[in-house]
């Protein structure tokens, strides 16, 4: 009974299919956490323990993606063009806004949660372009985009779980999710720091980690779209590519902030000083994930081929020519020479050059150099943790630039020594908040309306029996009039 026979195009009308599309998009979109149905994600993650969030973000929200791919690419085919374009737009919005909200967060798990939203957006870009290409009957391009989406799904599962786990072990040590109270943890938990660094590099799509290659594929499919499509669909793709580009940059900024505030600088709270390196068991877990995200990067060629096989298993891609070819040395080649990149080459190049530079500069040039350990330059006054940049301060400039979207609210609370002379202030606290436009412009009004309606409806149940009987009487009369 549980099968989708209702949705079989032969039985269902176009209107029905349209309704199903919208409903499925909303429903599974909510599960996947697309904007504006994302609000549960950042709320849920802090509540859950870290390994659960790792699962949630890694696996659970992918269920939504899976269902979308399954329904849109498999069951609801053939689909009109605007479906794909809608999904692309939603993806673009989710990616951009997700990362922007992440920048404003200084609750580490909420930050990661918003990054899940961002990555879901990126995945949806792939899915959407796959759908668009297929309905414009360019199956091989569609296959390419689908592969990109699948690859990014896989990668996101890996590095997001890695990030959540390492964040979790940090939280265990410092007993708070507020990044402002971390700082300098790299000296107390070096391994965790390393793993978190790898995770950050992967999620902000730095080569040679896996995040880069899936994002690269997504970019390629968008580029192909720009190249091959006409008119408005081309513009949608341009916008999508642009938002993806900005997303990459902002994600980088966000993870500089995250890593910098959590692990670098001086401890901002006494808790940090007592932090211990996380248990070797945890380290093995994180280490393996980190290794995976590197390996998936280096051997992205194999992965792409594998995922393409999976993509071919879809009925609509049964006999679709492939655009991706992998040459020797994992050199992925898109659309015979439109673009190509080789993960191992990049990795080897980086590795060798860094070692080389290190070797040359360290041991050939002036090897008997003495290194003195001193204090950070403090302009004469001794430094306190309060002089370091805060997570909020780091993101401040970007928040100010995007204030039209983020609606930042800053309120100052100043305490004076005595009420009369307001010259010497005792303390000044600045409370910074981000107005959530979904709450203020979408959810709260809806809630208001429903509330009003429901209070109206409650008057029906007035408690007076005569009224009740008169309802029956009136219903009877109306119904009779309806016949006679």
């Amino acid at each position: 009974m549980g099968d989708f026979y209702i949705l079989d195009p032969s039985t269902s009308s176009g209107r029905l299919r349209r309704i199903i599309f919208v409903l499925a998009l909303i429903g599974f979109g909510t599960k996947a956490g697309i904007i504006p149905f994302h609000i549960w994600l950042p709320a849920a993650h802090p509540a859950a323990p870290s390994h659960v969030s790792a699962l949630m973000s890694g696996v659970m929200i992918k269920a939504g993606i899976y269902m979308m791919i399954r329904i849109f690419l498999d069951i609801l085919q053939p689909a009109p063009v605007w479906w794909g374009l809608t999904i692309i737009v939603i993806g673009a919005v989710s990616a951009l806004l997700g990362v922007l909200y992440a920048l404003t967060e200084h609750d580490i798990k909420k930050l990661l949660a918003y990054h899940s939203i961002e990555n879901i957006g990126i995945i949806l870009l792939g899915v959407g372009s796959a759908l668009t290409f297929y309905s414009l009957n360019m199956p091989s391009l569609a296959l390419l985009s689908l592969v990109a989406a699948l690859f990014h799904t896989l990668n996101h599962a890996i590095f997001k779980s890695l990030l959540f786990l390492s964040a979790g072990s940090v939280i265990n040590e410092v007993h708070t999710r507020n990044m402002e109270e971390y700082g300098g943890l790299i000296k107390y938990m070096p391994q965790t720091a390393l793993f978190f660094l790898i995770g950050s590099m992967a999620i902000s799509a730095l080569p040679p980690f896996n995040g880069f290659f899936s994002e690269w594929l997504t970019f390629q499919s968008l580029f192909m779209g720009i190249l091959r499509l006409q008119s408005y669909s081309q513009w949608v793709f341009i916008i999508a590519a642009g938002s993806l580009a900005f997303t990459g940059g902002l994600a980088l900024a966000c993870f500089v902030k995250a890593f910098g505030i959590i692990f670098l600088g001086r401890p901002r709270s006494s808790e940090v000083v007592h932090a211990k390196e996380s248990s070797s068991f945890m380290q093995i877990g994180m280490g393996s994930l980190a290794a995976l995200s590197l390996l998936f990067g280096i051997f992205s060629g194999y992965m792409v081929i594998l995922l393409e096989k999976i993509g071919k298993s879809f009925t609509i891609f049964q006999n679709t020519g492939s655009l991706v070819s992998v040459f020797s040395g994992q050199n992925i080649n898109i659309a015979n020479g439109f673009s190509s990149a080789s993960a191992p080459a990049i990795f080897a190049l980086l590795f060798i050059t860094i070692l080389l530079v290190l070797f040359v500069i360290r041991y050939l040039v002036n090897k008997n150099q003495t290194i003195k350990i001193g204090a950070t330059w403090d302009c004469g006054t001794d430094l306190t943790p309060r002089m370091e940049i805060t997570a909020m301060g780091f993101a401040q400039s970007i928040v100010t630039i995007f204030k039209s979207i983020l609606k930042p609210s800053i309120q100052h609370e100043t305490e004076y020594h005595d009420a009369e002379s307001r010259y010497i202030m005792k303390s000044k606290s600045v409370i910074f908040g981000v107005g959530d436009i979904y709450h203020s412009y979408l959810y709260r009004p809806m809630h208001k309306i429903i509330n009003v309606l429901s209070t109206r409806a409650k008057n029906i149940q007035s408690g007076n029996i005569n009224t009740y009987i008169s309802y029956i009487f009136i219903a009877l009369v109306i119904a009779l009039l309806f016949v006679l």
Binding site: Q461, N466, I469, F473, L484
Partner: protein, 206 residues
């Protein structure tokens, strides 16, 4: 049939509970007569049982119950109505008119011979519904329901829709139980709320 109709209107008008019960007794008696009448037409021996039951329950027992209640709690005056008398009469007139109008021809025309009677019965159905809606007293609501039942029975008889005796007895029995229960509830409500005014019962809302 006219009696029923008139007693109903009277039920609407009267303020005294005792008189109301009496009116109900008369009404029920009218029903009995109607039943007898139909019995003479059909000549079904078992109808005796029905008629007897009706007689005992509706004409004798029910009014007795209510009077005892009235005595016990000396509820001489029934609780007031929502609408004042002239408005009530207007509505009653409207209802009667509607019931008599051609619109209900299929309903009242089941047996063309009895059309007027049927329409009268129908209007009394409506009026007794209106009685329940309009009256605030527990007793008058009970009476309203009972008279609704009466008028339905009357309608049936005139429409020639009598059921097999067994079922009718069953129905009568139901009504009997119902009267008892309603009676008990009335007394209990009087115990709890200190009045028979149902508008005092409004702590169950939303």
């Amino acid at each position: 049939m006219g009696i029923i109709f008139l007693t109903l209107i009277f039920l609407h008008l009267t303020k005294k509970n005792f008189i109301a019960t009496v009116a109900y007794a008369i009404q029920s008696f009218a029903i009995v007569i109607i039943l007898l009448n139909s019995f003479f037409e059909t000549g079904n021996i078992y109808m005796y049982v029905v008629i007897l039951a009706t007689l005992i329950i509706k004409v004798i027992l029910a009014p007795l119950f209510f009077n005892r209640l009235i005595k016990k709690h000396d509820l001489v005056f029934s609780a007031s109505t929502y609408l004042n008398t002239p408005l009530m009469l207007i509505i009653i007139a409207v209802l009667t008119f509607v019931a008599n109008s051609r619109k209900f021809a299929p309903l009242t025309g089941i047996i063309p011979a009895n059309q007027t009677l049927l329409s009268l019965a129908l209007s009394s159905i409506f009026i007794s519904l209106f009685l329940i809606v309009n009256r605030k007293g527990t007793l008058s609501q009970i009476l309203g329901i009972l008279s609704l039942e009466n008028s339905i029975v009357a309608f049936i008889v005139f429409a020639g829709l009598e059921q097999s005796v067994g079922l009718q007895v069953g129905v009568i029995f139901d009504i009997f139980i119902w009267i008892i229960i309603a009676f008990m509830f009335m007394s209990m409500i009087h115990k709890h709320f200190g009045s028979q005014d149902i508008t005092s019962m409004k702590n169950l809302k939303d």
